[in-house]
Structure formats: structure tokens, C-alpha cells
Amino acid sequence: MKINRRTFMQGAGATAILSSLSGLTPGIANARTTGAHSNLLAKRNGEVVYHSCLRNCAARCLLKFRVQDGRMTYVSGAEEQAKTGKAPCLKGQAYVQYTYAPDRILHPMERVGAKGEGKWRRISWDEAYKKISDRLKSVITEHGSESILPYSYSGNYGAIGMSASGERFWNRIGSSILERKVCTYAAYDGLESVYGTFLGPDPEDVMLSDVYLNWGHDETVSNTIAIKLINKARDNGTKFLVVNPQRTPLCNQADVYLQPKPSTDVQLCAGIMKYLVEKDLVNHKFIQEQSIGYDDLLKRLDELSYDEIEQITGVPRAKMFEFAQILGENEKTMLRMGYGFQRNFNGARMSRAVAMLLGVTGNFGKRGNGLVYDNIHAGAGLNQSIASGKYMRKNKDAQRINMTEIAKAIHPTNPTSHDKPSKPIHAMIIYNGNPVVVAPDTNAVIEGMKREDLFVVGHDMVMTDSLQYCDIILPSASQFETDDIVGDYHGYYIQVCQKVIEPVGESKCNWTFFRELGQAMGFEDDVFKASNDDIIKELLDTDSPDYKGVTYERLMKEKFIKLDIPQPVLADGKYNTPSGKIEFSSKLMSDAGYHPVLDWQLPEEEMEPKERNLPFRLLSSGVPQRVNSSFYNVKYIRAIPAYYVKINPVDAKTYDVKDNDVVKLSNHRGEARFVVIVTEGVLPGSLMTPKCNWLRMNPNGTEGCTNSLTTDKLTDMGGCSAYHSTRVDLAKA
């Protein structure tokens, strides 16, 4: 033991660790160390560097890395950032394995052979820059700059890594504009139609709430670290209500869990509001003073009976009443709305209905009240416009391509965008993304990417399914190999991402790549000489009132700062809607062609008949061990299953399948094979498979993955993806 401790204390971190000695020591004073592996502690020594997790997860853990001889050796959560805490989720804990993954691409390569054949030749960065800039210049001369398309989204959430770096280049060059709207946008419109905003209260105030209501969110997947706070609130008596068509882990722990059929949320909300009205559990004073259209809502609720609601949603009315009673009789409710359920053809309309629940109960004006959805204050308050070089764009009216419709935009013969013919794309640079398996309709994406007249460059850490179809591949540095800053989108934090190690191999971070490519293109603008630090200073040079008191020096010293946003939010009774009040009846909705109060239409009604009549609705959700298409190659994580399909016992019987059988799911877009899990976690008629899994890792055959099946039709409003509005057939494989 002596020897252990001495070795241990040589590390720079000894003070921190000694101060956290727990009460366990005294009883084991005579313990023998037979079988101990003192060498396992060596990795915990070294210099401490702070970085934030940059995955597409609202939590945004602050991480502490140990570095020895230029190598990252160990990662833990930074316990001083109490919201995120000492234990990040397993993805955060595996960042050393992620960074030093044996399959990392270490040098640039050029395709030899046919597209997708997988034959490559090593080239230098200089050669790569020359080839890319020559090709981009000739494409611009021949077809115009709009025939160049960026493809990127959430592989790196850093303020520089995600936005500033690439955007400087795209704005300067005048490329087509990529609408990066996979996720939240339908609900923005839905929430704004009620409250005028989608920004919500401080989620740490859940400690003050009487009720925590989770609607369609899975904290296990993208906000694990919030669960410990929810648990503390529950230990203090906070009630926990959950709604989700897929039984997420927390659904099992709820006081009341409702499992509606997918996308029937409008009807379910109607049922809950009907009960609240009948039992007089609505807040009359609040409704009278702070809302319009309540009478229209009452009329609309009368149009639907409990029988119909029960039949459409599949939720037994007794359960629904129990749920509504808890919501109605408590004063403070924090509603956490998820990012998944609005990915449906009726996404905006469902989000609107959910938001109305807090309207009738008047859950505003007190801490512990309100709706948490996408708290992007921290990121949105940064001076992105300057950092991204928006002022450099000359063609402000350049064509816009929605990334969900990427397959349509790069279609070999008939490119379209927003249902209209679009200018053909002749060059594409992919970074922070993996369109082949992240975009819907994988087969169609591949068909487009295989075009011989489409020049594709891919900048990534590992050989993704998308890089397979590139002309030139560039090794990307991980987020830990560069400096950045980032805001979370759950709470209100801005945090540092300090360079932990030098780039591995010949890899370059996003900004180095785009800066040098800009120079190769001959751009002499000063903005292409800036360092990461210069950009961070520009980002923090902001007029946003949220950033009062936040300086570069302070952030670098403190590592994380909680923005000072006055609480409670929406306390003054003024809403940013046309009427200035909460709108139970909305012109925004009727102008968009929907019912102004509650719209009953279900996604099936919008599907083409050949899909509508398939037996199963396919939910493709995130899973805790992956995020989008990341972590599929990471040691310890890659062995955890991600190619399964959950099926209800009733359906399993009908189709004669059991646990561990391999089945084929299919529709007119494609097919894919998955391993069966029989569980009541999904309802009869619904299936669930993890989203964004890779083609080449599918152990059941590489002909398909989840997105081989999903629809690329957009949501009702906001131009968001609608993955869950997909139907499939099932057969034993």
C-alpha cells in the first residue's frame, strides 16, 4: 500500500485526489494488496486539461483529461461542474479509446478505382489541397459556386468546429446553403405558435418542481447526467410523469407512464385537457389574463369523445385521468419535451398540443415551472455571425438545400430541393457528418454519391460508410486536438474545450483544414489567417445580454460559466406571439394550412398507399451507447448491440419470431436485417431499431441499416426530418 501511494503521489493530480479521500480508509488499515494492479493507477497521473464533450447531446459534460508525454491517458467528469458531474455517460468515459481508435485515418488519400470500390492511394496534404482547389475552381467556372454543397452537422458541436470553421469558407466561396434542420425545427414552430418562444427555464430548477413531466424524451440517451438531479427531486417528493410510445428506461420508473401509439399526441393532449376542464383543474385567472382562444379550445375538445381518444391513442382512459389529475392538482410542473417525437409529419402540430398543457394549467411565472426543450441561449448568444464570416457572402439568395433531402439534391438525373427542380451539385465536402447512414433513404444517398460527375471530399476520423464514396479522404483531428468553446442546450453553460493533445498522425482540425483550403483557393482575406484563439475571442465579443460579465479571460480561468439569465422565464405575462398572449387558437397554424387549435391529422394519412398499408410503424431512436453515427468503431462500445429490433409479444407471435431471431425489415426504399428483442417496450404495430447505425458494421449483413428504410419527406412546419413517419414490413430472414 505504501508503494502504491508513493507512486501515486508523484502525479500532478495528487492534491485533488487526496482531498477527495472518502471515509473508506480507516477500516482497511491492515488490508493486504494481493491481487492489486497498482500499474492501473499510472494513467491517472499527469497534467490536467479541461475539455467539453462535443457530441450532439444536450448534457455537455465538462471533462478532465490527464496528459502524459503528449498522450491522453485518462478521462473523468469534472466534479466541480456540479450539473454535469464526475461521471459522464459511457461515451464520455470512452474518449481515450475514441481518440486512439486503431482505425483512425492518419493521412490523406485519393481514390483509385471505381467509386465505392475501396481502393486508395496515399497523398500529401499539399497534393490534396492542390487537387481540391483545382477541382473547385473548375466547377465554379463551369457551373457556378452554387453547384458546390457543404454537408455537415453534428459530429462536432464546437462553436468553431461546427460552425465558424466551415462557414467562413462556404460564405466566402458562395456555395449552396445547407439547411441543417434534422432535429428540432418542427417543434420550434409548434411551441412558438403557443408561447412565442422555444427557450425555457433553468432545468436545474426541477428541484423546485412538484411534477417533472417528460414528453417524448429519453434522458438515458442524450442527457444521462440530468437523471441524477431528477432522482434527487423525486426523493424530495417531486412526482414523475412520462409519455413515450417506446418504453425508455425512465418510463419504467415513472409514477404514471402513458404509452400512446406513435404520433397520436394531439389526441392524447386533448384527452388530458378535456379531463382538466371537466374537473375544473384549469387555471381560470391565468387563462383569462394571459391567453386568447380558450373558448375555441373548449369547442375543439368537445369534438372528440373519450372513446375516440382511447381508440386512437391506445391509452386506457383511467391511466390518462390519473396522469391528468397529478398534472392538474399540482402547482409547479417542469415539462421536458424530447427531440424525437417531432420528427413526424405532424411534428409541429404535436409540439403545439403539448405546449398547450402548460397553458391551461397556467404553469408559468414561478421557478420550477415551464417547458424545457432546446435551451440554446449559450450557443445562440455567441457572435456567430462575425465568426462565421456571414458578411463575406455575396450571393445571399444562393439555393438552399435541406440536408434531410440530400438524396434528392444529388439525384443523378433529376435534382430537386423543396419539391422544385434545383441546380445540380457537382462538388461536395463532407465533415462532421456521415450522410450515407444519417440521412434518410440510405440507398438513394449512395446512388447520388456514386455519380462520376460529383466530386466528393470527406474529412473524418475514421472510414465511415460515407467516406467510402469519396474522391479524396482527409484525416480529421478529434475535438480534443484543437481549441474551441461550446454552449450546452439543456442548461445555460458556456464551457472551454482546451487542446488536450496534438493532432494524431497527419490529421487536421476543421479550422486548420478550411483555413488552408481557403489559402489554397487564393483567398487573401485576413479571416483566413486567424487562429482558433482569435475566433474564440470574436465569438465572445457579443452584445447578447446573456453574456453580461463573461470575458475570454474569465472563461479560460473558470472553465465553465453559467450565464446569468433571469428566472423565472416568461414571468411577466408577455409572450412573443402576434397577440402578446398564449394562443390556444393560432393564426400561424391556420396560415400554414392546419387547424388553428388542435389538428387531428395522423402521419399515415400523408403516406403514399404502398407505405401506408405496411404492417408496422418504425421508430428509430437513439440508444445510450451511441450518438447518431458516432462510437460505432470505439473499443468497449462497438460490442454493445446496435442492430436489433424491438417487437411486441403479440406481433412476435403472429410473425412466429422469438428473441435472437434475425428478421428482415423492408419497404420500397430498401431493406435491412436486425436481431429480434421481444418486449412490451413497444406496442403492437410498432417496431423500434436504433437510428443511424452503420452499414459496414451490421453483423446481420451489410445490405442495409436503419436509414435504408426511413422517409426523407419533411415535417409539417420547420423543414425538419420525419424519420419516425416510416412504415415497414417484417419477414424472417
Binding site: I17, G27, G35, T220, P249, P624, Y636
Partner: protein, 182 residues
């Protein structure tokens, strides 16, 4: 005789979300081969009101008071420390595999690399520093802990050696399940 210093895992099963962060934290700390897990997380779908619900059990070696592994080991590779931890000294292991069968909790694995047994030693190198084991430190929802069994049993009326997928047996396991919410 009862060991007042006996350490054991204390698990709030009602809060476990089955994420496997504990499993991966253990693999990372112990630098285990990818297919070897000292800590496993099992899902149980159990009857509940009008349907079923999922409950997870995160488990590893139970550091038994009457360890089956130790009893059968002909090479005396197993020993019990003063704090009750059942530790395996791999240097002494000859790879006979008797302990694998003697353990009722599926806690011992044979490593392919050297043909010897391996199991959770409760990260004794961390325990000896007054720290918590890697799995405990790695649980993001804080439902896994290590503590003295004796004092937990005294302080928490709900603490028991019974949970879903887990029960007391003749080896006298030392994991406690606590329930704070009805």
C-alpha cells in the same frame, strides 16, 4: 463471524437505467479485453400492473462472506482481506477453472490470453487510496456505491440481499439493494 468492516456493493435498483457505463468504466480501468466484462448489466422484463416493466441489475463479484471460489481453489489463489474483499491473485492461478463453476453469481471468467481466471477485485488499488471503484465512479445516475455492509444494514431499513435477478445464497453475498421510494 460477521465482519464489521465488510465492504460490498450497494445498488439502488429502482434508479438503474441499464446504460452499461459501469461495465465500460470497469473495462477501461482494468484494461480488460473487449469481450471480458467483470461487471454485467442484465435486463429483466417483469410483470407490472396491466403489463410489464424493465428492471436492470448491475452486478459483478459479490465479495461473499463464504466464497465458493475460494473454497474450491486448489492453488489458494483467492484470499479474503480484512475489509472482506475476496481477491484473486492471478499469479497463483493455474487455470483449472473450478472457481468458474463454484461461483453462483457468474462472476469469474477465464481469459483467453493466458487461460487464467479473472474477476472483479473491487479495484482494490483504488479502494486502498480511499477512492471508490471504477464502476461506482462511472455510474452517471449515481445508483451504484460501495460501503460497509454492516452500517448500511443498520441505517437503511429497506436494505436487503434481495432484488430482481439477485438473491441471498449460501456463499453469503455482499451486495445490498436499497429502495428509497415505494
Amino acid at each position: 463471524m460477521e465482519n464489521k468492516h465488510q465492504l460490498g456493493f450497494v445498488f439502488r435498483q429502482e434508479n438503474c437505467i441499464g446504460c452499461q457505463a459501469c461495465t465500460v468504466a470497469c473495462q477501461i480501468h482494468n484494461e480488460l479485453p473487449e469481450d471480458v466484462r467483470f461487471r454485467k448489466v442484465d435486463r429483466y422484463e417483469v410483470p407490472h400492473e396491466d403489463g410489464t416493466k424493465d428492471i436492470w441489475l448491475s452486478h459483478s463479484c459479490m465479495h461473499c462472506g463464504n466464497p465458493g471460489c475460494l473454497m474450491v481453489c486448489p492453488s489458494q489463489a483467492y484470499s479474503v482481506r480484512d475489509d472482506g474483499l475476496v481477491v484473486l491473485d492471478r499469479d497463483k492461478c493455474t487455470g483449472c477453472g473450478l472457481c468458474v463453476n463454484a461461483c453462483p453469481y457468474d462472476a469469474v471468467v477465464m481469459l483467453k490470453s493466458d487461460g487464467k481466471a479473472a474477476k472483479c477485485n473491487m479495484c482494490i488499488e483504488l479502494i486502498d487510496q480511499g477512492l471508490k471503484p471504477a464502476c461506482v465512479d462511472g455510474c452517471p445516475v449515481e445508483c451504484l456505491d460501495v460501503d460497509r455492509i454492516h452500517s448500511v444494514l443498520q441505517q437503511k431499513s429497506s436494505a436487503s440481499k434481495q432484488g430482481i435477478g439477485y438473491g441471498n445464497c449460501i456463499t453469503k453475498p455482499n451486495m445490498l439493494i436499497i429502495k428509497e421510494r415505494a
